[in-house]
């Protein structure tokens, strides 16, 4: 099984780099994954990650993109509450890339 090493720990990931167990996540994991992609995590990135994890804890799934957009608008201002801004933060797509950083499984289906 592939693994990643960060923060002095080893984490199991799947073939696409998603954590096998979302509960053993730490902030260092997100930082490490972002660095691998050449991204530096800003407060805005963290806002998304925290929201995703909270939502997942409650519903066992990541939120719909529009729910995420609205949340960002609420916390960071309406000018940032749009899909484009989320793609600026997570160029590979907010659902997949942000979920991966947040330690959550990849959304499946026609998405």
């Amino acid at each position: 099984m592939p693994t990643i090493e960060c923060d002095g720990k080893t984490y199991d990931v799947d073939e696409e780099g998603y954590l096998q167990d979302w509960q053993i996540w730490s902030e260092a994991v997100a930082g490490y994954m972002a660095k691998q992609d050449g991204l530096e995590l800003s407060e805005a990135h963290w806002e998304v990650i925290r929201f995703l994890r909270d939502y997942f804890q409650k519903y066992q799934i990541a939120p719909m993109i529009k729910i995420l957009v609205k949340e960002i608008a609420k916390t960071m201002g309406t000018e940032k509450g749009n899909t484009k801004y989320l793609y600026e933060l997570y160029p590979a797509g907010p659902a997949k890339q942000a979920c991966r950083y947040a330690g959550l499984p990849k959304p499946t289906g026609c998405v």
Partner: protein, 499 residues
Amino acid sequence: MAGKVEAPVLGGKIEIPKVQYGASKDQRVIPAKPDLMQKLNFPSERPPDWRERFLEKMAEVIKKYRSVRLFLDICVRCGACTDKCHFFIGTGDPRNMPVYRQEMMRSVYRRYFTTGGKLFRKLAGAEDLTEQMLEQWATYYYQCSGCRRCSVFCPYGIDTAEITYAAREIMDSIGIGSKYTLEIINKAETIGNNLGLTEPALRNTLDFVEEEIKENTGADVKLPLNVEGADILLVTPSADFFATPHIESLTGYAKVFHQAGVSWTLSSYASEAANFGLFVGNYAHMKAINKRIWDMARQLKVKRVIIGECGHAWRVLYSFSNTLNGPFDFLDSRYKVPQHICEFTLDLAKKRAFKFDKSANDNFTVTFHDSCNVARGSRMGDTPGDQFTMPRELINLTCNKFFDMPEGTIKEKTFCCGAGGGLLTDELIDLRLKAAVTRMQAYKDVKEKHNVNFLALICAICKAQFTKILPYYKYDMEEVGGVHQLISNAIVLGAKEGV
């Protein structure tokens, strides 16, 4: 992760490439893990006697699906199909020519199932079932989206999709499966939808949509869930509850039902229209997924079942559901069973049940991409070809500016989005970009001629694929959306034209 992928450069027209052997041999799906294979009643991994099992399964498949055997027998190698597949046009790999894709199965068929092949081997076009052959199957039967475009041009009507799906079924039976497709089948069968959306999450999402509509229009439009005794059960792809722009069409359906004044419901148990069982040619899984809809229609005592914007879901419900789980004979026979959301909306629109403000879509100049499984795998309405005219009529009722892409790229000859049939997965992004080149060329054509800036769709896979790839082609992802998104924009809530 993967290296940088880029979209092909769009020339002025769709060009047939030079043949490049092995050009896309490295585009492979991620294999399903042993535990997932096992959950779906497949062998967890390839057994030592895989050849025997493969041939046993193949014998079963060609016996059960007589069409497959017929297609293997009747090809005359005329070559009419060779340049019709966008996977070939996009990659130049001859294994993506439909005839050559079929040849992988045909040569094994000749070798083990025909007298000529058994006796004369290569002279009769027969090939041994080797590791290398299996490797080719696992690669190129996952580079076909089962869109059936080639079958339109084949003088014998050979349907490569049937062969592709049969090949995947045979591979699954020896422990070789696609993670993407099988994970989805597992979620659909255990949770009720491809996403794995639980009932509380679904309710939360629907509440959100209700609030959005209220904020934007002031109207109290409801999205009911699990309501027994509702007249209509709407079954839609679960992407409609998650992704953008899919969600805009869900909003559209809700507004249409609201305005029509009908009672309707969604179901958390049957919260998926898509049926990936089709994509792996597996009758048992296709049946199990379809049964959820059938059971829920009965349990909720609805009179009608309506299917949202999903191409292959419509094909399965329209063409196969009766055979899979029996007829929906408990539904109200005065209505079409099942019914496509476009049929429902257009029927009432023609009776002037809705008022549309076309100017709400004036910032869009629209074109329409016919989804393969609707265009070639099923029908709508009462007369042949209604599956082409009905979505266009809906667009014209709700938009002022509509232009079709060039002939030969639409209607029955439509190109696939490049990611149908189980290929909408990240590891195939390079292939998906290349396979979309024909559609993108046609789109560019109408953009240049008519300033088109909106690609209207009636399929969740098409929506996800184009949203993903348009930016690679330097177009805005917001140019992608659903037909019911346009309806959602234009429908005037609280107002009726006639009735």
